[in-house]
Symmetry: D2
Subunit: 296 residues, 4 copies
């Protein structure tokens, strides 16, 4: 099948490569050079302009936010997106904007599913992502087949926007779990404890989370702070979760506080920071330093 793939970031690049093993893929990227490289490395077709993608029966987008998706959809609609086409939006977007995009596309006879992913760049490369899909049953079925080239667990979570909602909530949970772990560990360190031993206990105990088991130790103890996922993107997701709860008129104090704290962290650490550097913000707020923070 001909598939247009829009957005070759850290996730999109390997996902499009996996997809091209089973499908004819035309790739587009805001910075064209990346798309050209993808074409030469993975045998995909390079789209010189976005409009060239309008003819594809399936369009996949994975870009920073739903605002970009809305722009892309508007441009391709104008450029002749086909009635009967399916748009699979794998962005970590927001449910509200997605419903608007879907309704605009529907007016052109184009179906839409939101299909954000979890699993990070390792999962994107290995083709083992978890993909959570919101949309009509029949659109999900079409999307599932295509997504099978990129992920191993493909779940239909609900109507349009449901995929984005689950992703946002998952990331808000991640954000809260890592923050509270950082606070607790900082308190133990201040008391003079060895963090390695404390983490050994906690990670065999009831307080453990993905954050405490797999994410924090190599950073705060090991001192490796790679850029794996931008804090600016996690902040966006937490804000989507907070907005969702707000628009539902729910009292969610913990998601609310998490959103505030990540916003403060982002302003302190800057747009280029990795999400796990939030642990450094927790320590710097307290004029402390992790073993894995270089003195400077």
């Amino acid at each position: 099948m001909n598939i247009a793939f829009l957005g070759l970031g850290a996730m999109g690049y390997p996902m499009a490569a996996n997809l091209s093993r089973n499908h004819e893929v035309i790739v587009w990227n805001r910075t064209a050079e990346v798309a050209r490289r993808h074409a030469s490395e993975h045998g995909t077709r390079f789209a010189e302009s976005l409009e060239q993608c309008a003819g594809a029966p399936v369009v996949i987008s994975i870009v920073p936010t739903s605002s970009e998706v809305a722009e892309l959809a508007q441009i391709l609609s104008g450029a002749g997106l086909q009635s009967g086409a399916l748009w699979i939006d794998m962005t970590s977007g927001d449910p509200h904007t997605s419903r608007t995009i879907a309704s605009d596309l529907q007016a052109k006879g184009v179906s839409f599913v939101d299909a954000p992913v979890t699993g990070g760049t390792p999962g994107a490369e290995a083709g083992t992502l978890t993909i959570m899909i919101g949309g009509a049953e029949e659109d999900f079925e079409r999307a599932r087949e295509i997504c099978a080239s990129m992920g191993t667990r493909i779940v239909h979570v609900g109507a349009i926007g449901a995929g984005h909602a689950v992703k946002a909530v998952n990331n808000a949970m991640l954000a809260a779990n890592m923050w509270v772990a950082a606070e607790g560990l900082l308190s133990l360190q201040t008391l003079g404890l060895d963090l390695e031993k404390a983490l050994e206990v906690i990670n065999s105990g009831s307080g453990r989370s993905n954050a405490s088991e797999n994410l924090l130790p190599s950073r705060i103890i090991g001192g490796a702070w790679p850029l794996t996922f931008k804090l600016a993107l996690l902040d966006k997701d937490v804000r989507i979760a907070a907005s969702l709860a707000h628009s539902q008129h729910l009292a969610t104090p913990m998601i609310g506080l998490t959103s505030t704290l990540f916003t403060a962290a982002l302003k302190d650490l800057g747009m280029g920071a990795d999400y796990m550097e939030v642990a450094k913000f927790v320590s710097s707020l307290n004029r402390a330093r992790w073993p894995g923070e270089k003195s400077s």
Copy 2:
């Protein structure tokens, strides 16, 4: 070795039974009847009065709070606790009180380690607890041998009070992780999503925690709300973590909010509630109901 075991609650009862396989154990419990039953079921010796335990070279306590430990220590000190004895306090206590108790015991030549556990009643019964020990190196070595009858992972985490601190922080993390998961899942449910599918995705994703994987699903979806660990005890632990951070003059907004929320939940749910019923408090604050909550 002769060991006095004080406190036969849900955890202490099976722990003392495991201990008695390798040691002579004399058991005491505030409600004597329980101790009498333990003696007849597990071949331990029944202490009619607390004072009978004063002669043991090793005393183990596991009671609700450090206040009770302080009382027990004072009574046994008065009743002739031996110089050279070792007191292993397996209560989920507070570091501050523990240091006071340790210093009072030291004046009598008695050593003290704090040695709280994690692993729940299943771990207590199977003898597979994780035990986190605070105290001097040589006291830890003595305690380790004895604790080996009750647990499989025995970690020396630091000086006196360090065990209690790690336990409190672990439980504060558990508390925050379960609360934020409840908020997020409630928001997804309000949006009309199927919680089972949402949890499937989250639990293969980055937001997962022990709370989301092992604790919440059987309650909020399955409707089984067994009493496994009293909310009053978890609230106590979270309050210890909050107090610790406060006394260290740390800014820990998430632990602070968690402590406030659990206190409000405890007042609403009552002293007899299970800790996981906090999920019901999150829903009732929002005039909602989990699939696993019976209409009444």
Copy 3:
């Protein structure tokens, strides 16, 4: 001047009466009976249908939320609202919706200012309201003359939406001030203090606020809990302030928490509750009771 006045609630009713001393006023209300009564009591003209108001060169609206304003504006636009007319929206609305309404009206040649008020029903009756106006300079000048019949302090605070923003922030401050006062006073009461004496000191001290001086004492001590301003409306305003800060990507932890707490209070107290009953929610969360709460 002919003025159409839409919305005869607790505030609008006396405001329209004051206005009619200097202007020809046609009044409309969702429940027509109230408008009919106003006409007979204050010599205003009764609008049988909303469309009758379309011809007025000045329209004033004061309704529950900006959504209702948007509806009214749409209907009157359709019914022939005159180019050159001025719409003065005295609702406690939200800046975002107001900008949309203003832009829709502008397309018809109609000017818009947002002009929410503070001063309560006493100020509305006495014509001594403070009125904060957002809009273009020339529109403000036109609005000022008209508003002079209803208020004594009329301030041009900025562009369209600015009036609503100031009102929302004022009310978020009120909400936070009253909540923290309730928490502090509850703590003093729990310690056994006489609240009257505590308030005497605080209200001559640095912690005083309009809430502690003028609002709380007669309720929590005096036991008078009149319905003066619906909690549902204050909750709406706090939510507007929280939304504004969120959309500005600001870290405002206190406004965020206040919004969460007021939402929880509203769900507990119900849509009919007065805003000051929030003090009862603070006490009931803590299983306590103010002197001014009847045992039931």
Copy 4:
């Protein structure tokens, strides 16, 4: 009457001067030079050593925290403090420590009242302080007469510790009121509003507080940031209020958050900062700047 006055800080210095108009006063200060100056300026007697103060029938202390009061009391007890003497502690102390000090003094036949003040250095100089007193009725009566030289409103708020509790709660309210005002005003400024006009409206409205009326405008707009009261001391008071609520097992989310935020602010601004500089912390968290902040 002979009165020993301990602690000649920004408040104590003028208070002792006023006291010396009606009484024989011996002054002591940690830095002796200040006491010597007081003696020469105000005709008081200079105590070369603390012990010289032990003979006074009335001792007044006003020092940074209750820990210092406890030390002073212990030293003077050892130096022969008279049975029948009255200790008036005007420190902003903590109720818990005060009860311990009072009980130690009582064992020597010495009475204790806690008598913190509000009114700032202007009130201290003019002798118009508000003084809130905790203690037994008869001790209050003795203290009242003496305090009349320093303040005009002298209120018996409850038993020992009650004065400190009211002071801590007053200051926690002040802290919350000023923080929420700073958040709200920052949001309005970000929207492009003129803060002077916004404050004019708010300060004639329901959201006003001592903080918004008398404290913030000259700083955030006027750019005057004098050192009037150390943030370190306000942080201490907020922490006392938070501790009090914690020890009462109350759910007080707003006081809890305020305490966390002030601690973070103190760590950022440093021990020498004025309390109102917290407004700068609110802006710097958000990478913003008040009109009254110099660019640097």
